[in-house]
C-alpha cells in the first residue's frame, strides 16, 4: 500500500508544473529557438513576420570576433575571481572554524560585502579607484612612492580591478560554504589522527581537505557560474571599457539585445552560452559525483 502511494502521480503539482511550462519553458525554449532561427530586429516589422534564416545567425555569431573576445574575458574573469574567492574564503573560514570570543562580530564583518547592492559597489569603487582617489593615496602612503594608477583607464588595471571587486563582493559566499563544511565535518577522524600523533599539517592535508572536497567543488561550481553572469558591477564601473577591455559576455549580450535590438543575435548568443555553461556544469557534476563516491568508499563501515 505504502509503495503504491509512493508511485501514484501527485496531481497537486500539476498547477505548478503548468505555470512553469507556460511562463518559463515556453518563453525560453519556444521563443528563444524561434528568434535564433528567424532574423528579427525589434524595430523592423512584427516578430511573427520575421524571415526564417536557419542557422545563419549562429554562423554569424560564431564568425564574430567580438563574441569570442567577450567569452574569453568572461572565462578569465570568472576563473580568476572564483579561485581567489575560494582561497581567501577558505582561509577566513578556517580561522573561524572554532568558537572564540567576538566570533559573531567577525562573521558579520566578513559577510557584509555580500549584502551590498552591486550597483552601489560599482559606484563606490569608481570613486575609490580614481587616479587621485583614496586607494592610490593609501598605496602611496604604504609604499612611500607616488602611486597614481588609473585603475579603470588602462587595460590590465581595469580588468584586475573588476576581478578584485568581484572577489571582495563574493568571497563571503565561499566563506559561508566553507565554514558550513568545516563545521559539519566529523570530528572522530581528526581526533583519532591527533591521538595517533599526526601533525596539524598532516591532519589538514590528509583528512580535512579530502573531507571538504565536495564542498570545495560545489563552491567552485556555484561561484564560477555566478561570476560568468556578472553584469551590474562591470556595467556600472566600466561599461565594457576602457575600449573593449572589460566587455564580458553579459555586457556583450546586453548591448546586442538592448542597444542593437538584434533580438535574434541575442537569442543565438544566449543559446551558445547556455551550451557552454551546460558543458561546464555537466563536467562539474561528474567531478562532484566522483568526489561523493570516493568519500563514501573511504568512510564505508567495514563489514
Amino acid at each position: 500500500m505504502a509503495r503504491r502511494q509512493g508511485r501514484r502521480f501527485k496531481w497537486f503539482i500539476l498547477p505548478v508544473v503548468t505555470v512553469l511550462i507556460l511562463f518559463l519553458l515556453v518563453p525560453i525554449i519556444f521563443f528563444q529557438i524561434f528568434f535564433s532561427l528567424h532574423q528579427w530586429t525589434a524595430y523592423i516589422g512584427e516578430w511573427w513576420q520575421a524571415e526564417f534564416v536557419g542557422l545563419e545567425i549562429f554562423a554569424d555569431v560564431l564568425g564574430d570576433a567580438r563574441f569570442y573576445w567577450a567569452l574569453v574575458r568572461s572565462l578569465i574573469f570568472a576563473g580568476a575571481s572564483t579561485v581567489l574567492c575560494l582561497v581567501i574564503g577558505f582561509m577566513l573560514a578556517y580561522l573561524m572554524r572554532e568558537p572564540f570570543r567576538g566570533r559573531g562580530f567577525f562573521y558579520l564583518l566578513f559577510i557584509t560585502p555580500m549584502l551590498v547592492v552591486p550597483l552601489a559597489i560599482g559606484y563606490n569603487y569608481e570613486m575609490l579607484l580614481v587616479q587621485k582617489g583614496p586607494f592610490n593615496q593609501l598605496l602611496s602612503w604604504i609604499t612611500g612612492q607616488e602611486i597614481q594608477v588609473s585603475w579603470f583607464a588602462e587595460a590590465v588595471p581595469a580588468f584586475l580591478s573588476i576581478i578584485f571587486i568581484e572577489v571582495w563582493n563574493w568571497t563571503p559566499f565561499v566563506f559561508i560554504l566553507m565554514l558550513a563544511g568545516l563545521s559539519g565535518m566529523p570530528k572522530e577522524p581528526i581526533e583519532a589522527a591527533r591521538v595517533l600523533g599526526a601533525s596539524p599539517l598532516q591532519i589538514f592535508f590528509q583528512i580535512q581537505l579530502p573531507l571538504l572536497r565536495p564542498v570545495i567543488v560545489l563552491a567552485l561550481i556555484l561561484r564560477f557560474l555566478e561570476a560568468l553572469g556578472e553584469y551590474p558591477k562591470v556595467w556600472s564601473l566600466t561599461r565594457g571599457g576602457p575600449g573593449s577591455y572589460t566587455e564580458t559576455m553579459p555586457v556583450y549580450l546586453y548591448i546586442t539585445s538592448w542597444e542593437h535590438f538584434n533580438i535574434s543575435k541575442g537569442a543565438a548568443v544566449s543559446y551558445l552560452v547556455l551550451l557552454i555553461v551546460a558543458a561546464i556544469v555537466y563536467l562539474c557534476i561528474r567531478i562532484l559525483l566522483r568526489e561523493k563516491r570516493a568519500l563514501e568508499t573511504l568512510y564505508r563501515p567495514s563489514a
Binding site: 525589434a42 583607464a153 571599457g241 576602457p242 575600449g243 573593449s244 577591455y245 542597444e259 538584434n262 533580438i263
Partner: protein, 485 residues
C-alpha cells in the same frame, strides 16, 4: 491636409528667419480649432474638452521631472483633471532599452516617454510613437528652435515629440588663464602668433597642448569613454570637414579624408587630458573641470551651468563660445552636435494619447519651456528655443556669455546618427573609437572596422528603408556655415 500643413510650416520657417532667425519653426497658431489665445490656453481647452479625469504614467529620468516641469504638471491637473500619476524614474541611457521592451510587448503601460530624439526613427518604425501633427494643428502649437533641434523630432515629415532639453555642445575655456598677460606672452613667443579663440580643431589642440601642466592642470577634458557619447565629438569634427557617415545609397563613408582628419583630432586630445578621461562619464568630469582640473572643454551646456554655480571653484572664471570648426572645404565651417535632444513623446497605444499630447503641449510652449529651462534647480533641461535666449532668468542661470555661446552653437548644431538603429550605429562607432583611444587599434582601423560593421547593419535593417530615412536625417542639419551673432 498635408499640402496645407507643409505650406504653413514653410511659411512659418520663412517668417521666422525674417524676424531675426535663423531658426526652425512649426507654427500652427493660425490652424487652431481649439479656442484660446495662447498655446497654453489651447492645451488646457483641448484637454478639458476630453472631459477626462486621468493620471498619466510617464517614463522619465527623475533629474528631468523636477522643479518647474513637475509644477506645471500639477497646474495642468488642477485645471483639466489630467495629470501625472505614475513616474518610472530611469536613467536617460537606460530608457531606450526600456521603451523598446515596451514596444515589443505592445504595452500601453506608459502614456508619455521622455526619450532622446535619436530614438524617434527607431521607435516610430516600431510603431510605438503617436504622431503629433493633427493635435498640433488642432491645438495651434507654436514650436520653434534656434537651430534644427525641432527637426530631430520630425520623421518622414511628421512630428513625434516636443523638445524639452536642447542639449548642444559649446566650448568653454578659462578666461583667467586665457586673458592672463604672462600666458599670452608665452604663447606668442612660442607660436609666433597671438593666443585667440580656437577657430579650428587644430587651434583647439594647440591651445590644449599649451595649457597641459600635469598634475594640476590639463589642457582639455572632453569625454572619450565608452557609452558616454564619444561619437558626438567625432561627428562634430566629421561634419565640419564636410563629411557624412553614409553615402546616398547607405554605403558607410567614414574612411575618407574628412573621417581620417576627424579621428586624428578626436584622438589628438589624449596627451592633453587626464588618463581617467578614458573611463569617465559626466558625473566625474563636471566636478573635475569645475574644480579647476582643465583649461578647456567642449561640452553640453549643462556642464558650464554647473561650473558656474556659486559654490564652484571656477565660478566666474569661464568664457564661452562656439565650438571649433574646419577649413577642409576651403572655408571655415563649424558644426556642433545636439545629442541627445530629449523630447516628450506619446505612446500610440496609450488609452489617453490625446490627453497625454495636451500635457506635452502645455509643457513645451515657448512660455512654459522657458520657465522649465530657466529653473535654477534643474540643470538638465538645456536652452533650445529663441525665447530662451532672450529670457533674463535663463541668462542668469547660464551667464550672459554662456547663453550667447549656446545660441551660437545651437545655430550650427547637427544631429547624431538620426536613423533607425541609431543606437547600434553609434555603439559600433563608439566601441571602435574607444579602442583607438586606448591604443588597441589605430584611428584608421577604427574607421575601417566601423564601416565594415555598419555595412552588416545596413544589410540587416534594409538599405531601402534607410535610404528613405536619409532625408529626415539630412533635414536636421543647419543651413549655414557659421553662426550669426
Amino acid at each position: 491636409m498635408t499640402d496645407r500643413r507643409t505650406f504653413l510650416k514653410g511659411t512659418a520657417a520663412a517668417g521666422a528667419s525674417l524676424l531675426g532667425g535663423p531658426f526652425f519653426a512649426a507654427d500652427f497658431a493660425w490652424a487652431a480649432s481649439v479656442p484660446g489665445d495662447t498655446p497654453e490656453q489651447r492645451a488646457i481647452n483641448g484637454a478639458k474638452a476630453l472631459k477626462k479625469n486621468v493620471d498619466l504614467n510617464i517614463l522619465i529620468w527623475g533629474q528631468y521631472f523636477n522643479g518647474r516641469m513637475r509644477e506645471l504638471a500639477a497646474e495642468f491637473k488642477e485645471k483639466t483633471g489630467i495629470g501625472i500619476g505614475g513616474v518610472q524614474d530611469l536613467g536617460i541611457v537606460a530608457i531606450p532599452g526600456k521603451v523598446m521592451a515596451e514596444s515589443m510587448a505592445r504595452s500601453s503601460a506608459f502614456d508619455i516617454v521622455h526619450v532622446g530624439a535619436g530614438m524617434i526613427p527607431t521607435l516610430a518604425n516600431a510603431g510605438y510613437l503617436q504622431p503629433f501633427d493633427k493635435f498640433m494643428e488642432k491645438g495651434g502649437m507654436v514650436y520653434r528652435s534656434v537651430g534644427p533641434q525641432v527637426e530631430q523630432t520630425r520623421y518622414h515629415g511628421e512630428y513625434y515629440g516636443f523638445v524639452t532639453d536642447g542639449n548642444v555642445h559649446m566650448t568653454g575655456l578659462r578666461k583667467d588663464l586665457f586673458d592672463n598677460p604672462t600666458e599670452r606672452k608665452r604663447f606668442e613667443d612660442k607660436h609666433g602668433k597671438p593666443m585667440k579663440w580656437p577657430e579650428t580643431w587644430d587651434d583647439y589642440l594647440e591651445l590644449a597642448k599649451f595649457f597641459t601642466r600635469p598634475p594640476d592642470l590639463y589642457g582639455v577634458s572632453d569625454l572619450r569613454s565608452r557609452k558616454w557619447l564619444g561619437p558626438i565629438w567625432f561627428l562634430m569634427m566629421l561634419y565640419s570637414n564636410g563629411g557624412f557617415p553614409f553615402g546616398s545609397d547607405m554605403t558607410p563613408t567614414l574612411y575618407t579624408d574628412a573621417g581620417r582628419k576627424a579621428v586624428e583630432w578626436y584622438l589628438g586630445t589624449k596627451p592633453y587630458s587626464t588618463k581617467d578621461i578614458a573611463v569617465w562619464g559626466t558625473t566625474q568630469n563636471i566636478p573635475f573641470v569645475a574644480g579647476g582640473g582643465a583649461f578647456m572643454w567642449t561640452y553640453w551646456t549643462g556642464g558650464p551651468a554647473t561650473a558656474e554655480r556659486q559654490n564652484s571653484k571656477t565660478h566666474g572664471k569661464w568664457t564661452y563660445g562656439v565650438v571649433p570648426g574646419s577649413r577642409m572645404q576651403g572655408r571655415l565651417v563649424k558644426r556642433s552636435v545636439s545629442d541627445p535632444v530629449i523630447a516628450v513623446t506619446v505612446n500610440r497605444r496609450s488609452q489617453n494619447a490625446e490627453a497625454a499630447y495636451w500635457l506635452c503641449q502645455y509643457w513645451c510652449t515657448p512660455k512654459h519651456s522657458t520657465e522649465i529651462v530657466a529653473d535654477p534647480k534643474l540643470t538638465f533641461h538645456d536652452a533650445w528655443a529663441p525665447e530662451h535666449m532672450k529670457d533674463p532668468r535663463v541668462a542668469a542661470k547660464y551667464t550672459p556669455g554662456g547663453i550667447e555661446g549656446t545660441a551660437q552653437c545651437l545655430q550650427v548644431s547637427s544631429p547624431p546618427i538620426l536613423l533607425p538603429g541609431n543606437l547600434e550605429f553609434t555603439d559600433l562607432l563608439d566601441k571602435n573609437l574607444a579602442d583607438a583611444f586606448v591604443g588597441t587599434i589605430s584611428g584608421d582601423e577604427a574607421l575601417k572596422k566601423t564601416e565594415a560593421e555598419w555595412r552588416d547593419v545596413v544589410k540587416r535593417v534594409g538599405s531601402r528603408l534607410l535610404v528613405k530615412d536619409l532625408a529626415s536625417y539630412k533635414a536636421a542639419f543647419p543651413k549655414i556655415d557659421l553662426p550669426k551673432a
